[in-house]
């Protein structure tokens, strides 16, 4: 039997609840839904054929290719780095551990433009390393290597950040058990550690990939904006837009928006299906 007059002490009255929900929905519509709609309406405003010919344009194709290439290098690199870093931090005790964790977070707190600039200063024409590398036939700044470096820098916290709390929570018990049963280090990692963290790892890779493909600031500084050569998708969008090529700009932008939506869907699936195995990360 429910008492009509009883009110749950932590809940609000119906009007307050509805007002809050409406405020959030209105905000989301204005700042998320509306821009997303604009991207697709602008991309398709001259029809399907204009959309696809904008995407088929050689500079656009090369931008898509370069973005995929950069992600294909940066994401595996950060996967390996993230695994190694979180393994070291979660399973061993050493001095300077807290400092290392802070360092891993650095790209989150530094403006991407600054991180791009650092690479220009390190490898540019007026630096020490730049002319040396160039004399050996390696151009870093205003070329693909610079873009890859800047992308790796900006995206390296994602996998590590995802795995450190997860591995810390799981501890070393399972690995000890595997080793006491005769497994070597590699077998313990492959059969025990990896299955325990696989969903967290996938989640981290997903976020890392989304950022690697969408990164603008750092890449913009090191790229040099050479059409057909060093433009990634986000940079290409900007150039087309500045050329008043609205359909072209929004067509490429729509691909990035689709990537974002896909990431969101996969992320939601991971969270609902394997929430408990990602639980350590949900507390953060």
């Amino acid at each position: 039997m429910r008492n009509e007059h009883f009110r749950n002490p932590i809940s609000e009255t119906a009007p307050v609840r509805w007002a809050l929900i409406l405020a959030v929905l209105a905000f989301l519509a204005l700042f998320v839904l509306l821009p997303l709609l604009v991207v697709f309406t602008q991309a398709f405003r001259e029809g399907w054929s204009a959309y696809f010919s904008a995407l088929g344009e050689p500079d656009a194709v090369s931008a898509i290719r370069l973005t995929l290439l950069v992600a294909a290098i940066a994401v595996p690199a950060n996967l390996i780095f993230g695994l190694a870093a979180s393994w070291a931090i979660a399973k061993f005790d050493f001095k300077g551990k807290a400092f290392l964790i802070t360092l891993i977070d650095l790209p989150f707190s530094v403006s991407p433009v600054i991180s791009g600039l650092v690479y220009v200063l390190l490898f540019g024409a007026n630096s020490v390393l730049g002319p040396f590398l160039k004399s050996h036939g390696l151009q870093v700044v205003f070329a693909v290597p610079g873009i890859v470096l800047a992308t790796i820098f900006v995206t390296f916290p994602f996998v590590a950040r995802e795995l450190i709390p997860l591995m810390q929570e799981q501890g070393t018990g399972d690995e000890e058990a595997a080793i006491s049963l005769g497994a070597n280090g590699w077998q313990a990692f492959w059969y025990v550690t990896l299955p325990n963290i696989k969903w967290g790892l996938l989640y981290g890779v997903l976020l890392c990939n989304a950022r690697a493909m969408g990164e603008f600031g750092a890449v913009s500084v090191v790229s040099g904006h050479i059409r057909g050569l060093t433009n990634t998708m986000p940079l290409h969008v900007e150039i087309l837009y500045n050329d008043y090529n609205i359909v072209g700009a929004f067509a490429v932008a729509s691909l990035l928006a689709l990537l974002a939506l896909l990431t969101l869907v996969l992320r939601t699936i991971l969270e609902t299906q394997y929430g408990s195995e990602l639980s350590a990360t949900q507390k953060h």
Partner: protein, 343 residues
């Protein structure tokens, strides 16, 4: 497999966890390492397993010096406190793990691995559960899967860390009896760690009582209970009372009064006795004081008696006959019948 631990010292960050511990475990023995938390019992077990490296000292498996051998080389079956079952593998895969990770030339064929896993599960009374995952098992079942997994590698010794710690009281009792039977059937040298004295006394052939990184006493249940060799063992195992006394002219005195107990050596000492080892006395020397509380405990009655002066009272608990009148405030006089002095 006989195990000898010789003058083992283990330091964690310069803080000693074990001080020069020596212990000999006979082949086929069931040994309990018993002590409060922080006594070093788990560290000793992990050192025997090879999960920790000793700072100093040696460990022998039979005649072979195993001190610096890896866990894998020592071939021990280790059952972890929280079982550490692999949560993404089913029961059969868990049990078979030790065999499947063997190098190719030592690995039995798949069918043989499966047969051995099922045989072990049968022995652990887990038949029919081989397809379940660890989170679908009860605590007692998980414990037995962990044991089956450890046995699958045909270990030379079996080491268990708080094997019953995470189980409820009833399951704990059942498994305790079951482990004893299992040990008697297989004859493995078995060492287990526990903080539960009842468990240690009931289950083990010999109990190793540890405190603050040292072994206090090694002996059978009767030895450590009836003949404790240190104040720690006396107070840690079973109930006991402890009084500061002085021995004058061969008689034990408490607060200047003779207790009527005779001792060899004069000097300050501590008198230990158990609640049940006393008899009430009508007259003559003894310990006496007012009853401050009493309670009925199944077949006996326990009275708490205040001894000594009002300024520095000593409260001791003694067993009294059920028909004794022990309302609060009545004075009881008694004398320990079995007791021990530590100088």
């Amino acid at each position: 497999m006989e195990i000898r631990v010789e003058k083992i010292r283990k330091e964690f960050d310069l803080y000693p966890a074990l001080h020069d511990v020596s212990l000999k475990i006979e082949s086929g023995e069931l040994i309990a390492l018993l002590g409060p938390s922080g006594s070093g019992k788990t560290t000793l077990l992990r050192l025997i397993a090879g999960l920790e490296q000793p700072t100093l000292g040696r460990i022998f498996f039979g005649e072979e010096d195993a001190s610096y051998k890896t866990v894998q080389e020592r071939n021990v079956g280790f059952v972890f406190q929280h079982y550490a079952l692999f949560r993404h593998m089913n029961v059969a895969q868990n049990v078979a793990f030790g065999l499947t990770v063997r190098p190719r030339h030592q690995r039995p064929p798949k069918a043989e691995i499966r047969r051995r896993a099922l045989e072990l599960l049968d022995m652990m009374q887990l038949t029919g559960l081989e397809k379940r995952f660890p989170n679908q098992l009860s605590g007692g079942q998980r414990q037995r899967v962990a044991l089956a997994r450890a046995m699958a590698i045909e270990p030379r010794v079996l080491l268990l860390d708080e094997p019953f710690g995470a189980l409820d009281a009833k399951v704990r009792k059942e498994l305790r009896r079951w482990l004893r039977e299992f040990h008697d059937r297989t004859g493995h040298t078995t060492v287990f760690v526990t903080h539960d004295q009842e468990e240690a006394l009931e289950l083990a052939d010999r109990v190793v009582v540890m405190s603050q990184g040292k072994i206090e006493q090694v002996g059978s249940s009767d030895d450590v209970y009836d003949r404790p060799n240190s104040p720690f063992v006396f107070s840690f195992i079973g109930e006991s009372a402890n009084l500061p006394v002085s021995v004058i002219d061969g008689t034990v005195h408490f607060h200047g009064q003779s207790t009527g107990l005779a001792a060899q050596r004069d000097g300050e000492a501590h008198l230990f006795f158990r609640p049940q080892d006393v008899s009430l006395v009508e007259e003559g020397p003894g310990l006496s004081g007012p009853v401050t509380s009493s309670r009925r405990l199944a077949g006996t009655r326990i009275a708490e008696v205040e001894l000594g002066s009002a300024k520095s009272p000593c409260h001791v608990e003694i067993e009294v006959p059920l028909d004794a009148s022990v309302s609060n405030g009545t004075t009881l006089a008694f004398r320990p019948t079995r007791w021990k002095l530590f100088y």
